[in-house]
């Protein structure tokens, strides 16, 4: 499988993966999360485990099991950690622990390194047998509900290290804390190369004309993604530049506010025939890929964001991206180099006009963006970082290590 990445990812990443594979050969690396399908973590683990095995590491992936009550509690914990208040009672925390205890009895937790993803399986640390235990937090922890964060911290402090996606998500917990950004898989359905026919097929399916520049934002219908602001920016651009706006996202069935926001967006778009609001069903990866490839300019005008990997997805397709200066977006967009960071509707409109009127600048930015993603946000870099972290923990006290 690793050979499929040759010529796509930096050669150095493949070299160091082999080198780390030799250093950690035959040693066991266990990943545990709470779902086998759906979500970015599962998506990456599906690809990561075979690659780890191929370079000589005995990698395993286990999934904890829980009932509806358990996942209702963990969803509340998740929301609270992202700053939305939820009441987590003592009973709920106890149930969270009990379900993990049952899983600990069922799972083989014996490994040289154990990476626990997110809060759902965090209590498993209480049942550690051996090896180095690392807690990997994929959540935006910049403004958590304090009581919930403090309770979870009781588990986290027992780990050997924690990993966060962005520096400002890290908490001072008295253990080693590392910053490892997430990544995209260049070979997945969402990111693989598409033929012109495949792109046209998607545009035809949604009746999108191909005769004018396309401005695109792919995101849930959520106020933090500022879809109304995107329409305002488009209207400001439209006075001078004829273009099409596509807002594409999945209907948020588990988010009652999603429907309200979608209705607001549809009302605000009114009957403008050049605004396309697309409700894509789950697993529309190929269509998203095609829309990103068909776009002239891609927006991610978020007001609040976790990491915002859709930015890297669009950059990987050579598109200039205009993003809100929030969350992980400034890590991906170097303002003026790989895209533009904006703070307002006016800023977004100005940058869209700039890019539509300077195709050369748009092309150069897109090329630089693609290179930047190649060097920083592909799956091989993330695997490399996890192995480097494990190796560094085996060689504590050194800030430079020669492999």
């Amino acid at each position: 499988m690793i050979s499929q990445y040759s010529g796509i990812v930096p050669k150095g990443d493949l070299i160091i993966l082999q080198r780390l594979g030799e250093k950690l050969k035959g040693r066991s690396f266990l990943h545990i999360n709470s779902t086998r399908a759906g979500g970015g973590v599962a998506e990456i683990l599906h690809r990561m485990i075979p690659i780890l095995n191929e370079i000589g590491i005995d990698a395993r992936w286990e999934v904890i099991e829980g009932d509806e009550r358990f996942f209702d509690i963990t969803k509340k914990i998740h929301n609270s950690l992202q700053g939305n208040y939820e009441n987590i009672t003592k009973d709920m925390w106890e149930y969270h622990y009990e379900v993990n205890k049952r899983n600990a009895e069922r799972l083989n937790l014996d490994a040289d390194a154990v990476l626990i993803h997110d809060p759902q399986p965090a209590p498993l640390i209480e049942f550690r047998k051996s090896g180095r235990w690392i807690w990997r937090c994929h959540i935006d922890l910049s403004n958590p509900v304090k009581e919930v964060c403090d309770y979870l911290r009781g588990y986290c402090e027992k780990y050997d290290a924690a990993v966060f996606s962005v520096a400002r998500f890290a908490r001072a917990m008295g253990i080693d804390e590392f910053i490892i950004p997430p990544s995209i898989d260049p070979l997945s359905e969402k990111n693989r190369e598409l033929t012109d026919e495949e792109i046209s097929e998607t545009l035809h399916k949604f009746h999108i004309p191909e005769d004018r520049p396309i401005i695109l934002q792919v995101s849930r219908f959520d106020r933090f993604k500022d879809p109304i602001g995107v329409i305002k920016a488009y209207r400001s651009v439209k006075r001078y530049n004829d273009c099409i706006l596509i807002l594409a996202g999945s209907p948020a069935t588990d988010d009652p506010e999603g429907e309200v926001v979608l209705k607001e967006v549809q009302d605000y778009a009114s009957d403008d025939p050049d605004i396309f609001i697309l409700l894509l069903p789950p697993f529309s990866d190929k269509d998203i890929n095609a829309l990103q490839r068909a776009a002239t300019v891609v927006l991610q005008k978020s007001l609040k964001e976790g990491f915002g990997l859709t930015v890297s997805e669009a950059m990987w397709k050579g598109k200039p991206v205009i993003g809100g200066a929030t969350g992980g977006i400034p890590l991906q967009i170097i303002h003026g180099v790989t895209g533009f960071l904006v703070q307002s509707v006016e800023g977004a409109a100005f940058r869209i006009r700039q890019l539509l009127n300077n195709p050369k600048m748009a092309r150069t930015m897109g090329e630089r963006g693609k290179d930047y993603v190649r060097n920083n946000f592909l799956i091989t870099r993330q695997i490399r970082d996890y192995l480097c972290l494990w190796y560094a923990m085996e060689n504590r006290g050194w800030s430079i290590l020669e492999l």
Binding site: I15, A167, I180, I334, G336, R384, C388, S399, I400
Partner: protein
């Protein structure tokens, strides 16, 4: 027998120090107490990032972009980390520049929430890029295709290892190939004024000229 040049490259993983600053006073406090690795990361390793040429270290960038203290940002950008043999002296210089500025402008603004400066440090891994060259012609091919982190390692990071203005490339040209003039040309490239790709172009051009010159001399013979 000429000692071959082995291209190495490096990657780093970022470690949070748990310290952050929301204004200049806290930035000075942070710079005073963080590890040498953290100062190293925010200054020397700035060149590893796809930076734009307005700044030359993370402190200057944060002061310029997040605090909008342009004058201080210019002063911080003008600090040459390679001019110091010791990180403790670089640390002192950073503190002096900020403290002098604070004497003149004692009440600067604070960063917006979530836009604070986060002090990090790195653990760096060095490994062979799998390319060894024995002469200038081979070097020329390699430098055109080698990865950016290899150029960073040999051109920037080497200055910390070797001290002063020395980089691995010019040292090999001078010591192994006895090409003093080429070594001087490479040392004359301003490390602050180019991206890594710019450095690659300058080195390629200088080496290409040298290779052509050597070929003409052979033809003349």
């Amino acid at each position: 027998m000429i000692e071959p040049f082995e291209f190495k490259q490096c990657v780093s993983i970022i470690k949070s120090t748990g310290k952050k600053a929301k204004n200049l006073k806290e930035l000075v406090e942070g710079i005073s107490v963080v590890s040498d690795e953290s100062i190293f990361h925010h200054t020397y390793q700035y060149f590893l990032k796809g930076h734009f040429l307005e700044y030359s270290n993370d402190f200057a960038q944060w002061v310029g972009e997040s605090l909008e203290e342009r004058a201080l940002s210019e002063k911080l950008s003008n600090i040459d980390p390679f001019a110091f043999n010791d990180i403790s002296i670089l640390r002192k210089e950073l503190i002096n520049v900020i403290e002098d500025y604070l004497k003149e402008f004692p009440e600067p603004r604070e960063a917006m929430p979530n836009d604070e400066f986060y002090f990090n440090e790195t653990i760096t891994f060095i490994y062979s890029a799998g390319v060894k060259v024995k002469n200038l012609a081979e070097f020329l091919i390699a430098i055109k295709y080698i990865e950016p982190s290899s150029i960073y390692y040999h051109f920037y990071e080497a200055r910390v290892r070797l001290g002063g203005r020395m980089d691995d490339f010019s040292r090999w040209f001078e010591e192994a190939l006895k090409k003093e003039e080429l070594a001087r040309k490479i040392r004359a490239i301003d490390p602050f004024m180019h991206s890594i790709e710019g450095i690659r172009e300058h080195i390629s051009k200088a080496v290409e000229e040298e290779v052509s010159k050597d070929m003409w001399e052979i033809i003349k013979l």
